[in-house]
Amino acid sequence: MRDTIEECERAGHAEGLAAGLALALDGAGAAAAPGRLAALPRAHVPEGAPVVPHALAEREGIAFVRPGTGGALPPGRLTALGARLAAARLGTSRRLIDRVVAHVAARASGGEPLIRKQLVRGALADALVTVETTRRTLVVAAAVGAAVTEAHDRLTSLDWELAKLLGASGYAGEGAASTAFVSRLTANCWVSREGSP
């Protein structure tokens, strides 16, 4: 499992969300999704499959597809898929960290680079801790559904804490917040939760 997790993180980091998702799915198609929509790499969508249009996702090479009939994955395999997807998302979060560090190093406020502001340093330090703890969680608890779900929630929160550091430049344009949002929507399609209807 460790190798697969590492591989998914590497793909997410080096090649982006769609590539990470492709690895995480490991051949699973839309029918495997636990809910009424599956997130697939655009390139994997079968011809004629009913796609829900979503401009932001399209930009990331992701499509939302109605699963049609077929059985969702059994819980154990779905949890393993969720862990691989979390690893891919972790890779994209690390991309975001790279971008944020470059941004706050180059930007000044009150004559001082943002990267030297203590609140910014604190946020970046917390982000690094989240990366390391989430990675270990995915290695040691890839079979524990609730732990994997929590890892996804932490990644959603991490991405937003990072996107905030980009200011409006991350929220506007084809900004980082939009990539992070598609990452969240993708997880929302594949992660099932205890207690939700």
Partner: protein, 394 residues
Amino acid sequence: MNELPGEPPHALPHALRRLAEGSRELAAELRDIALAVDADPHDSAPLRASSALELLRVVGTPRPFRAHAVPAWAEPYVDSRLARVVANVELARGDAGALNACAAPSLAGFTVDALGDSDQQKAFYEELANERPWTFFGMTERDHGSDATAMRTRLDPDPSGGFLLHGAKRYVANAARGTIGVVWARTGPTPLSLRAVVLRRPAPGFTGAPLETLGLRGACLGEMAFDGVPVPPESVLGRHLPASRRGLWGANRAFGVVRLQIAAQALGSAFALRDAVRALRPGWAGHAPMSARLAAARALLYDLAAESDARPDDRRPPSLAKLHTAALAVEVGRWAEAALPPGSLVEHPLLEKWCRDVGAFEFMDGTSNILRLTLAPETTPRRAPHRAPHQEGS
């Protein structure tokens, strides 16, 4: 939680309860155009056709300058910060994106109120009444956001009379479609030399372009460039004021109102998300802890708005309000996601949209870090910290 979905909040004077109820009715109309505004915020047809937006435009205009009367329930809106907060929570509960598409005086209006002389105010509001334009407020630049006092846009004397404006602004609402607004520029090196000018479009050398935005797309963010735009002396605000109050410090009070309004819109959006979960899970009692937090946030926001009415120069009550509600709204989006089945976000376009929208409040009128710096005590307080007068940046 025993609050019924349609029930007006408790502990408000009768006039404000009526304002809340009236706002709630308008909110339903905002909801009707929410997805259309998000899909194509630059399509003015649904906006011009909306009677709710038309009413809000006039409600948000100071009484002496209104083109027509407003219903009695809406009258208190301009009387206090608390009233604005009460109304904005309810309106944003309909849809904050559509609310931000309103062609209202907004921040440009507050600035003209604070810094304009009576002729400038009259000219500005007459144009608003006649043309019903979208307005812009240009402060942020590509390289200077929180650090706005370091802005580079310049207002230089024009040898042939008046001034010339050079520079650019970015992430400004209505930057491309607004035909009148306020732009900040510097006349010299110090923060005291920042001045606001009223700008109209078209003008030679004045261009603008829209920017894609993740959420709150009704605000129509964009960028503006000024290549020697002529500015007549009568368009420079604050001429009649002492040097210390002509610029940013003179407008400080207005910024407090806006911060509270944004805090209210964040909370209204959070309520909208909670309401959506309740509608999708009828009979589910699990929303109670979050509903309690939202009710508490509303009580806090009302208290802070009332405090701010009493001490309009104290930047801390509005800062505390926005610091809390902007984060809470993002959190409620995640809570909604967790409370619903997989795939629900894309499946329910309003939910998806509101999860994008709530991020915007972080950046509008002070990021969370800037609010933290405003709020944190700098010394051992002699009096209770929330009682001490304080100004941001002082």
